[in-house]
Amino acid sequence: MKNKKCNMILAVFSLSLPAILTGCGSSQGGANGEVIVYNWGEYIDPDTIDMFEEETGIKVVYDEFETNEIMYPKVESGAASYDVVCPSDYMISKMIENDMLAPINFENIPNARKNINAQYFEQSKSFDPGNKYSIPYCWGTVGILYNKTMVEEPITSWAQLWDEKYSDNILMQDSVRDAFMVAEKMNGFSMNTVDPTELETAKNSLIEQKPLVQAYVIDQVRDKMIGGEAAIGVIYSGEAIYTQRENPDLEYVIPEEGTNVWIDSWVILKDAPNKENAEKFIDFMCRGDIALKNFEYITYSTPNDAARALIEDESIKNSSIAFPDLSQYNNLETYVYLGEDGDALYNNLWKEVKSN
């Protein structure tokens, strides 16, 4: 930080405030120091943090983000110095590309290889080729949640989101990649395409669909579907179990055209001030009983075999929503980072859709 301060007045502006803030923060800490964690909102059982603090004497400073896109600039600018972050697949590849992550020393995190199914490490290779930087925390699919009492036939396909019958009864995801994924899969393209003509087609599909869409939402899909506000909604599989618990009329389906299989993984930042504690934290989160607690609290699929073995409720343990057999589905993909130009292309097209 000191070198940067000499460079530019602006750098001083942007760096001095956080430096003051973190300066205040680091003076306190547990008996064994602290670890600063940056995770998705509502993505952990708060009890597990207390348990970690009690067992290790390490104080956890916990912060939350809503989307990968909000998390990235905050971590990149160094505005706050985090140790452990939990981004998604494509964002991890962006962070690897920009040299922001530290390679993980698996010897210090024995629970990772022991408990986490090798399949998910294999899958992670699409964004972290050598499995060097990330340890899977949660995974899932994106699919359609529908209200059985409000549709005339079972929903099986993305194309049904363009059915005029369901006008004003459709909820779409309000994020660039997820919205385009739906249109791209519907048109039979890859969801990682940067081909301008394919993207133009996808954009036109989304514009065509817009009058039928009730609202573009993120977390509110959950509440609106539970309340019977809409018949069909695009949702993350992890939310499906929770919504079904609240409203038994809801059904989750992975559309036949294929979808996004995503993984959110723990990573340690290159500039992490407390690397050792970060390793201890991740190792703790990979413990079977802790992963189970988290799974039961957030209901997002866990890649942790030890945790799954501990689930008592057989219907959840073998749930096709929480633990689908992915070999049954075609055209499953994981997002990859599209580069700055690719991102800009998507963002501009999305703006065209939204302003139409």
Binding site: F13, V213, Y216
Partner: protein, 272 residues
């Protein structure tokens, strides 16, 4: 004595430097440079692209409509309040300010719950066998949200100026044979212009820049300029474009302030 006074103002100077001057400087720095740090006007001229211009136009339209509605609702209310006895009007003012003790986001979310298809209002209408209303996720819902949230900012300044008008001036007007309509247009309205101006500014500016109301009540289907800027920062992480568009928006706010300054002068002129 004077040095003591200067010392007292230092927290405010520090505050405005830290949270007003520096952030403004950063907006101008980001808005006038590209990713490599080179000077460019591209982020400013980007307002001319179809999507941005449309969003700006829509924002201007909705905020002007909301301001007019707020004014039409607030003026009679402020007049009624200023004619009331002290105990009564302070109670009504309290009722008006009471919702502002609650978080702005929560109040807007509450409107969402009220207006939804299966929401509170439609359930009541349904129960009474009346046709339901479907304005959620339309521009009407956004205008409603703006009027609801910003109405107190129009009522309070109007009430302030109206209650300060000297009774004797009105008596004089009546003495000289002016009817109530005449008195209103020749005396009350001109005297209340400073309140009208600050009311309009306090409603128009937040309405023009809002992105929360359009997201929550417009279902993210209606893109206002505030939404575009928010998305540049949070989703596209293009701070340069976001800052450039913010500068354009600032120009509109400054225009509004210049207009109010001119009007204010005329208002004072007509008073003499």
């Amino acid at each position: 004595m004077t040095s003591k006074n200067k010392w007292l103002s230092s927290p405010y100077i520090l505050w405005s430097v830290m949270f007003i001057i520096i952030p403004l400087g950063m907006i101008f720095y980001y808005g006038l440079t590209d990713k490599t740090g080179a000077f460019t006007l591209e982020n400013i001229t980007a307002i001319a692209t179809a999507e941005h211009a449309k969003a700006l136009w829509l924002s201007l339209l909705l905020s002007i409509i909301s301001t007019v509605i707020c004014f039409l609702l607030a003026y009679p209310l402020a007049m009624i309040l200023s004619n009331m006895k002290v105990n009564q009007h302070s109670f009504i003012i309290l009722i008006f300010i009471l919702p502002m003790w609650m978080n702005f986001l929560l109040r807007t979310l509450a409107w969402q719950t009220l207006l939804e298809k299966n929401g509170v209002i439609n359930s009541i209408l349904n129960f009474l066998h009346l046709p339901g209303m479907n304005i959620i996720n339309t521009p009407y819902a956004i205008i409603l949200g703006m009027v609801y949230n910003f109405l107190p900012f129009m009522v309070l300044p109007l009430y302030n100026v109206l209650s300060k008008i000297d009774e004797n001036v009105l008596d004089a007007s009546r003495d000289l044979g002016a009817g109530s309509v005449h008195t209103f247009f020749r005396i009350i309205l001109p005297l209340s212009i400073p309140g009208i101006i600050s009311g309009i500014t306090m409603v128009f500016v937040p309405a023009l820049t809002t992105f929360v109301i359009s997201t929550l009540l417009g279902g993210s289907k209606i893109l206002l300029i505030g939404n575009v800027i928010e998305q540049e920062f949070t989703q596209a992480s293009n701070w340069h474009l976001g800052s450039g568009l913010s500068i354009v928006l600032m120009i509109f706010i400054i225009l509004n302030m210049i207009a109010s300054a001119i009007f204010d002068k005329e208002g004072e002129g007509s008073m003499l």
